[in-house]
């Protein structure tokens, strides 16, 4: 009951997050009536990417640790499914456990080694580890190497993912649980200390706490959330290749967070919605305005991102909060 009260209060405080989550819950009703199954697919992609971005945002936004390698954890999560199936293990629940465990251990190792550095050195060393993992999977011929491996939609007994919308709501529930979990921990003592470390690490140390412990814990949690997103991704795409771990994917996660609003709960999810909808709609818009250049929609997308930096401080989330009157 106590937990329910905290969650209720949390959702009331993070209205934007609650609205987006509710929107995703109700979205299939709209696509069902309007007969637009393609949009369910897009919504699943947004939720998966949003979940990964939320995981990264715990370290990047709340902890001030700019990790440029989190796509590696998404990739490990997806490969955990692929490799388990390769060895005949088909149970999706076990995939999730394996992925969480693998990402947790990896996050612990990488975090322990990287968190000795700060600033741009930290950015680059997290990139370095992600690149090593990327090239490792490129070189693993038995798991497809560069070409990747196909994956069967995992077997989440007793849920039959082949039934319509089962996968959609599985992803939604994972996103909901991630959101609620993050909502609780950023308000907990742990979350408060993490934010304090971001603003002044030596003061936290002077208070008798060991900042490194909190930072590593945050890093591990965020790696595990990205791993969870990766397992969902595997079932959604039914395929995984090293491309999912490429550094541009890590960059994409960062861009999504900054676009939506760094260090807020709803920001990364909002950023994922905006990022993927722009990707979807700009080509169509270009088709209307300048059909010859429909393929060149990024010529608009780039300046849109710059405009967000110049004119919308705090990203789109900040913009919405200002319009809604500080709420």
């Amino acid at each position: 009951m106590e937990l329910l009260r905290i969650l209720g209060e949390g959702l009331a405080r993070n209205r934007l997050l609650a609205v987006i989550l509710a929107g995703f819950a109700l979205f299939p009703i709209y696509t069902g009536i309007a007969d637009l199954p393609f949009w369910n697919d897009l919504a699943m992609r947004i939720m998966i990417l949003g979940m990964a971005a939320m995981g990264l945002n715990l370290v990047l936004g709340y902890g001030g640790m700019v990790s440029f390698g989190h796509a590696a954890f998404v990739g490990i999560g997806a490969y955990a499914v692929g490799i388990s199936q390769f060895y005949g293990l088909d149970n999706g629940w076990i995939h999730v456990l394996i992925s969480l465990f693998a990402c947790g251990v990896l996050g612990l190792v990488i975090g322990f080694l990287s968190l000795r550095t700060t600033g741009i050195y930290f950015i680059m060393i997290t990139l370095a580890f992600a690149q090593m993992l990327y090239f490792l999977f490129v070189s693993l011929e038995q798991f497809g190497g560069d070409d990747g491996m196909s994956i069967d939609r995992a077997d989440f007994m007793p849920i039959d993912l082949w039934e319509p919308l089962r996968l959609y709501y599985l992803i939604w529930v994972a996103l909901l649980l991630t959101s609620l979990f993050l909502m609780v921990i950023v308000r907990s003592r742990f979350g408060v200390v993490l934010e304090a470390i971001r603003s002044n690490e030596s003061r936290v140390e002077a208070m008798g706490l060991v900042p490194l412990r909190f930072k590593i814990t945050g890093y591990v949690i965020s790696a595990m959330i990205c791993g969870l997103a990766g397992t969902m991704f595997a079932s959604w795409q039914e395929y995984v290749s090293p491309d999912i771990m490429h550094w541009t994917r890590s960059g994409e996660l960062m861009i999504i967070i900054i676009l939506g609003g760094i260090g807020t709960l709803a920001g990364p999810l909002l950023g994922a919605v905006a990022f993927l909808l722009l990707e979807e709609w700009l080509p169509e818009l270009m088709l209307l305005v300048a059909p010859a250049y429909a393929e060149n929609w990024m010529i608009i997308f780039g300046p849109v991102l710059i405009a967000v930096v110049l004119f919308a401080r705090g990203g789109l989330g900040g913009l919405i909060r200002r319009i809604a009157g500080g709420g």
């Binding site: 550095t117 680059m124 990139l127 900054i258 010529i299 991102l305």
Partner: protein, 306 residues
């Protein structure tokens, strides 16, 4: 593996190294001195390559094309700083990441619209497409040799510019204490613009030299950007000397790794497996090298004094 083949690869490594240095030199100053995260530096490489390729086609002369392309790259850096970058200095790093990422998308697409998505292949004039003997019976392409020479000359030029000239002294003073330097009557804003333009110019020259060796295509700058970031980190952020040492190191390690690793791996796995895993493991090597350097020296080989 014969000695001659090894020597050839070392020269190829040197050539990659000096190219990386030309890209990293400007970036290390922008990152270290101006504290600005500039991800679109790879786009400057692309702009240089395209400017040279199209001006060569236009004038029909390779040398004239290069000569005209250099001012173009300088101007592009200058204008970019004036139009956008100067509004972003006071923003936090994350804002700079997003804005300059937007710039990458914009420039890549601009080039795609202007020149098409296909790769451009430019040919060398006959005077540069031959071979010379670097040792008796050891032919090596003239153009690659020229790239090494130009790169080394540029490196010397950059060193003298920073260490010996008045402008260099101003840049160093600005890095040390911006407010004080400005109070002494140095136009810091103009100085930043010049550093930016010069950085763009050197990155552009790197692109021009890569043009005839690799495919000139949209997005060609980003892998180079990542490698030059590795160079900057190993060298120590803000240190031009460090960037030079690290660039040569990375160039040689990367090139030799690509050639030697598959050979070594063949020793204890099948040929097919070795040929598959070799290149990937070789790509991994520069990152392993960077991590090792950071473990031993957390702020690079030549951390700037301050």
């Amino acid at each position: 593996m014969t000695f001659i083949l090894l020597l050839e690869q070392i020269f190829n490594g040197l050539q990659l190294g000096v190219t990386l240095f030309l890209i990293a030199a400007g970036l290390t100053l922008i990152l270290g001195i101006m504290d600005f995260v500039f991800l679109a530096h790879g786009a400057q490489v692309m702009i240089g390559a395209y400017a040279a390729a199209s001006l060569t086609a236009l004038t029909g002369n390779f040398y004239l094309g290069i000569l005209l392309a250099i001012p173009v790259t300088f101007a592009s850096g200058y204008l970019l700083e004036y139009l956008l970058i100067r509004h972003l200095y006071r923003r936090n790093h994350m804002d700079q990441v997003l804005a300059t990422f937007g710039l990458i998308l914009f420039f890549n697409e601009l080039i795609r619209i202007g020149f098409g998505p296909a790769a451009l292949f430019s040919s060398l004039p006959p005077s540069l497409s031959g071979f010379v003997n670097i040792l008796p019976e050891t032919p090596y392409p003239v153009f690659r040799l020229l790239v090494i020479a130009v790169g080394l000359a540029c490196a010397l030029g950059i060193h003298l510019l920073v260490a010996r000239t008045k402008i260099g002294a101003m840049v160093r003073a600005g890095a040390n204490n911006e407010t004080m330097t400005a109070a002494l009557g140095v136009n810091i804003r103009m100085l930043r613009r010049l550093v930016f333009a010069a950085g763009a110019c050197f990155a552009g020259i790197a692109g021009m030299m890569l043009g005839p060796l690799t495919a000139v295509e949209p997005g060609m700058g980003e892998p180079l950007l990542i490698l030059s970031l590795v160079v900057i980190i190993i060298g120590g952020i803000g240190s031009v000397r460090g960037a030079f040492v690290a660039a040569i190191l990375i160039g040689v390690v990367d090139t030799l790794g690509r050639v030697l690793l598959p050979v070594i791996l063949r020793g204890f796995m099948g040929q097919a497996a070795a040929d598959g895993a070799g290149p990937a493991l070789a790509s991994m090597m520069v990152y392993i090298l960077m991590s090792l350097v950071l473990v031993v020296r957390p702020s690079g080989l030549f951390p700037p004094k301050g």
